[in-house]
């Protein structure tokens, strides 16, 4: 097949999936937070609020986009576009599966295979600050300005520990290509413990992983580092003045960034698509078992008359049958080399996204000066030490 045609198809698919994931990440976040906080969360639109993202989208699309009279209209309108474009671009270098052959075409899920994939990601993440900075400045609102000043300082500061944390696993794998990084993490210690970079042999990168996650929280402006939009101090920070689709763009950018950074963490530290335990102990069956269990549980609840609610009467059996039907797909030999790695990748990245939400439900917010002090006096030296130790051990081990 033509390279360009294939790439176009893949681009369209990736964009579609990523945007849907962003929308549903919001739903998942609201649901998880709600359950942490002892409330049901979105419940009205669709069964269990499943259509809530769609409703939100329609609401935001049909709202009037207001440009404040003192704002700088060009930059005010440019900022959300910049933010969302940069956030969505980063996903192109993530390899989701190994290469496989399907209908005579050799390809992989994932758009490109850059030699300098990591550098590309770093470049995009360092540009990501502009959307926020320009948006806050152009709104001509003091809260927004303060939010964007905070964010530029914060993102520049946390980029250092982030980059340092990325560099140490790179020392182990000796390549900048994300696909090769994942492929090098293949195999198991003692036939059981996966050879992911978190458990890598001379120097396990567990510390690097933690530093990376902390810096990632700061880079994506999430609790406890959500200072740029700290709603109790700066109203809504840099997007105080934004409404309608422009606001939605910032929102989407935030979630796209979270998803991307979780994927990067999966690739760099958690062994990408490699399973948690060897296939000979049945790791291939995990998705089947999970889906089947979920389907059976739904059918069980559907059969229980007492728990039935209006929507559930219809949706529980339908989704139960759907999930049960989906389970054996993972057993089809042709699809197996695609779906099983993809499942593991999505499972790991999804778990990290869950951690992001979980932290949001647990921790209070840092103060601005404490945040900067934390980056420069704790996180940065720690990541530097981690890098030095890793480098030393790698050099000594030859």
């Amino acid at each position: 097949m033509n390279f360009y045609l294939l790439t176009l198809i893949k681009m369209a698919l990736t964009a579609l999936v990523l945007l849907t994931c962003c929308a549903y990440a919001v739903w998942v976040e609201r649901k998880v937070l709600a359950h942490i906080q002892l409330r049901p969360g979105p419940y009205r639109v669709g069964p269990h609020g499943l259509l809530q993202p769609l409703a939100d989208l329609i609401k935001l699309l049909t709202k009037e986009g207001i440009v404040p009279s003192y704002a700088n209209p060009f930059f005010y309108l440019l900022a959300p576009f910049l933010a969302v474009a940069l956030a969505l671009t980063a996903i192109v270098v993530i390899p989701f599966t190994p290469e496989f052959e399907l209908f005579g075409v050799r390809t992989a899920i994932g758009l490109t295979d850059l030699n300098i994939g990591i550098l590309f990601l770093l470049a995009l993440s360092s540009l990501g600050v502009y959307g926020i900075a320009i948006g806050g400045w152009a709104s001509n609102n003091k809260y927004s300005l303060m939010g964007s000043l905070r964010s530029s300082a914060q993102m520049v500061s946390y980029e250092l520990p982030l980059a340092m944390a990325i560099v140490s696993p790179l020392l182990l794998v000796n390549t900048l290509n994300l696909r090769e990084i994942v492929e090098l993490q293949n195999g198991f210690h003692f036939g059981l413990l996966p050879k992911w970079n978190v458990f890598a042999s001379p120097v396990p990168q567990a510390l690097g992983f933690v530093i990376f996650l902390i810096a990632a929280f700061a880079e994506t402006n999430r609790v406890p580092f959500d200072l740029p939009e700290a709603e109790s101090e700066l109203v809504a920070g840099f997007h105080t003045e934004y409404s309608s689709m422009m606001f939605a763009s910032f929102f989407m950018a935030e979630y796209a960034n979270i998803i991307t950074i979780c994927c990067v963490a999966t690739v760099l530290f958690l062994g990408g698509w490699h399973p948690l335990w060897p296939a000979e102990y049945g790791s291939d069956l995990v998705p089947v078992v999970l889906l089947a269990a979920a389907g059976l549980m739904l059918l069980f609840h559907a059969a229980q008359a007492a728990r039935r609610r209006k929507w559930d009467r219809f949706t529980f059996p339908v989704f139960g049958v759907l999930l049960l039907g989906l389970a054996p797909v993972f057993l089809i030999p042709v699809l197996k080399p695609v779906l099983i790695p993809f499942f593991w990748f999505v499972a790991k990245a999804g778990f990290l996204v869950f951690v992001f939400i979980w932290i949001r439900g647990t921790l209070p917010r840092y103060r601005y000066d404490q945040l900067m002090r934390f980056a420069w006096t704790f996180l940065f030296p720690l990541s530097l030490a981690n890098l030095l130790v890793t480098g030393l051990v790698v050099a000594l081990a030859g």
Partner: protein, 164 residues
Amino acid sequence: MDVLLFLIFAAIAVGCALNLVLQTHPISSALSLIGVMGSLAVLYLLLGGEFLAAVQLIVYAGAIMVLFVFVIMLLNAGGEKKPSKKVLRTAVALPLLFTLAGVAAYVLASQAPRTETVKFGAYVAGPYEVGKALFTTWLLPFEVTSILILIAILGAVVLARKEI
């Protein structure tokens, strides 16, 4: 394809550079400069400078320019209000400059051999090549730059203190 990409990004670079000079508000200028840097990064890629293209974005566009934007926002300085009073100087300087540019371009175009072309992929200086050169041949200058940076940091810290 090469020509097309070159022309597109060269046009963007020149357009952004002109905009940088012509805009009165520093934020517009800063964003134009980021545009120049972005398109130059693509041109570096065409020339095989993979590593430099990435560093251009990470260091130049992502760190130095953020600093500029930060300072502009911090000072909240508006655009230039009055045009320059030294009309004569400008009137003489600009034509001279463009003459210089024209002459330089002419000389370059006539001197450079026509056959000398740039082929994408003919020469690649990725992180490996740059790193190797940097840590073998250029080790001393590289270490000296670290001292330079240290001094710059100290200078910036001293200057930014409240007392001055």
